[in-house]
């Protein structure tokens, strides 16, 4: 009898101890980032940007007393690990929104995300995530890879290119946009050379580039991350290729000129969905201030914008009284030309099209700094939803 009393007392004490935690209004956000994996070189800044964004929006207390609580975790770019983290966020933290990372794992989680009605912001701008008919809960903030590769082909064509080659790592991130690029290159009448595979952790690309030299393309697409891109560009300079490189958004940043040196100048052109870190746009002041003097890259800006769009959605969902997965999704789908302060092109989601925008910039490198070559825009066509 006494023991029973003791157990009851303990249970009551435990309940009391935990009540305040349950009362505080936290909006938990799961974070799946790559710090130690193959894309860690760019993933680190992305994760840092998300963490800084959480702090910034909480200080501004934009959600009327509700606090964002980002739970960042490293998954080392391993799909099963992402599934494990997802299960934790769903069952233990009970989140309804996740800030995720890679193409492979975002695609792998699509069925679960749709089943559990959890809004998933990915750092993968994979085109096939943009069809709400198939993936109603997937969102991202950058111009999709497929749009980027089409814009790159258009730019190459405008510069008088006749022959193009696609270089990418054997990862979903590298492979997924390639069909869109080839399809569009064919439409433009460009001749396509044999693909080259350069892995994310490559330290040498000589054999691939010598192979490519035989075909001698005017432009080549690189679908890797910054370290492997630097390897390709340095080797291209070493072997005297005249090819210019159009680089997907995770392979071109402020570090590229540091890693590739002079070789990057006039040779490397990046597809930029967001403004470079420290660019002269109105929204950048807070971003730079949040970094506390550290020289981050544009990947920091990407996650910052991702948090900004999420917060905007949460605000609207809260106003509508539906602070849950479907409510957030509905709120996001009402965003129209959402102004990010110039950090990226205005963002629009609709219930039939999750492409955030179709405008981006092409950047080059001069004297070790990124400069703007050209703003490019691809018409938002219905035919290109979902790929």
């Amino acid at each position: 009898m006494q023991r029973k009393l003791l157990v009851t007392a303990l249970a009551v004490a435990l309940c009391l101890a935990f009540t305040p935690m349950a009362m505080a209004k936290d909006i938990k956000v799961g974070g799946i980032f790559d710090i130690t994996g193959p894309t860690g070189a760019v993933g680190k800044d992305y994760a840092a940007g998300a963490v800084a964004g959480e702090k910034y929006w909480n200080q501004k207390s934009v959600l009327g007393g509700d606090m964002l609580k980002l739970i960042p975790n490293d998954y080392a770019y391993k799909i099963p690990e992402a599934v494990n983290l997802y299960k934790k966020y769903k069952d233990v933290d009970r989140v309804f929104v996740i800030q995720g990372w890679g193409t492979g794992d975002t695609n792998a989680l699509r069925p679960l995300v749709n089943k559990d009605k959890i809004v998933f912001f990915s750092a993968s701008y994979d085109g096939n995530l943009t069809d709400p008919k198939k993936n109603p809960y997937n969102f991202f903030i950058g111009t999709s890879y497929s749009t980027a590769i089409r814009l790159a082909m258009t730019y190459a064509k405008d510069m008088g290119a006749k022959k193009v080659v696609f270089i990418y790592p054997d990862h979903p991130y590298g492979k997924n946009p390639i069909p869109a690029g080839k399809d569009y290159a064919k439409k433009l009448g460009l001749q396509i050379g044999p693909d080259e595979i350069v892995n994310l952790r490559a330290i040498d690309a000589t054999s691939q580039l010598l192979n490519m030299k035989k075909f001698d393309p005017d432009f080549a697409w690189i679908g890797g991350t910054t370290p492997s891109t630097a390897v390709i560009i340095k080797d291209a300079a070493k072997h005297g290729l005249r090819t210019k490189f159009m680089i997907n958004c995770w392979g071109f940043d402020e570090n590229l000129s540091r890693l590739a040196g002079k070789a990057a100048e006039g040779r490397a052109f990046g597809m930029l969905p967001v403004a470079p870190f420290g660019a002269n746009v109105p929204g950048m002041k807070d971003v730079v201030a949040s970094a506390g003097g550290k020289p981050y890259t544009l990947h920091y800006v990407k996650s910052w914008v991702s948090m900004m769009v999420m917060v905007e959605g949460l605000k609207k969902a809260k106003a509508a009284g539906k602070l849950n997965g479907p409510g957030l999704r509905a709120a996001l789908e009402t965003l129209k030309d959402f102004n990010t302060g110039g950090l990226c092109a205005p963002i629009t989601y609709t219930s039939t099209d999750h492409r955030p925008n179709t405008t981006m910039a092409i950047g080059g490198i001069k004297d070790g700094k990124i400069y703007l070559v050209k703003d490019v825009n691809f018409p938002r066509q219905k035919a290109y939803i979902g790929w």
Partner: protein, 353 residues
Amino acid sequence: MPCGLFFETYQKDESIFPTLWLRVWMIALGIGLLVFPFVAQPISDWMGMNTLNMVNLIFIYIVGAHGLNLLTGYTGQISLGHGAFMGVGAYTAGILANMGWPFWLALPMAGFMSAAVGMIFGIPSLRLRGLYLAIATLAAQFILDYAMRNWSSLTGGSSGLLVPSASIGDFTFDSDFKFYFLALAIAILATLYLKNITRTRTGRAFVAVRDRYLSAEVIGVNLFKYRIMSFGISSFMVGISGGLWAYYITIISDEHFTMWLSVQYLAMIIVGGLGSVLGSIYGVVFMVALPELLRLPAEALTNVYPDIFVIFSSLREMVFGVIVIIFLIFEPDGLAARWHTVRAYWKLWPFSY
């Protein structure tokens, strides 16, 4: 009253649970395991980690670790290819499931496929021992890894392969809670199987091969047969583990079945205890639970210092490595041996000598 354990018949000497207390504890463990999934949610909430998911993974890996322990711990043949053999099982189950095969048929097929592959790559074990066999099986790892990645028409390549949830009849194991009982049943079966096979003629032949293969051959143990058989059984178990894993995670990608997984399996049985049934269980619990537990301080610290999250998540891997090294230095015979020491101490406490 006897002042120790005295076995008066061979049956008693050979029984799995020789003492009354052991049987009582086993029943308690059994009840605990059956009750656990019902209280897993509050435990998970309290600890801030998904304990049910973790325990399911532990069960899955126990099946595979038993397999490798049979090969390395009992037969003395090292294998650095078990990660890939697990992958073969996972892909077999996944591909068959996508072709519409029922779960109860696809899972054994995963085991048989892995067994076949394991036996083929086990053939060099007749000639090669020790480091040389390690390199030969490492080659198997790389060949299979390459095949999984590049045979994309079959395996889905680097994008992975979606697998439907396991179902028997109309019952679908589509949640962690339901899957728990399936994984538990198979882990228990695998444990009983390993425990029993070591007590048979075959099991003794395995141990003879390990301890001194020349003597074993002299007394009539067919080395080739038993080495291949050991590779076959071992790969079968690791294939089952892979099949279960595929049905549990519901997406397979090649990057899981790299050399790292093979090394992890070896680490499990070395940390746990080579040639011990309990050893593989302790090893798996240690290797699966520790990284998850190390995540907790990382998350707690992130709340206080959000800026160092990036550093801390890299630190987690290093802490894990350091802990494994410390374990190997202070307990080279594995956790199972430590468990025996602890038990022996308490048995005679406070009058030990």
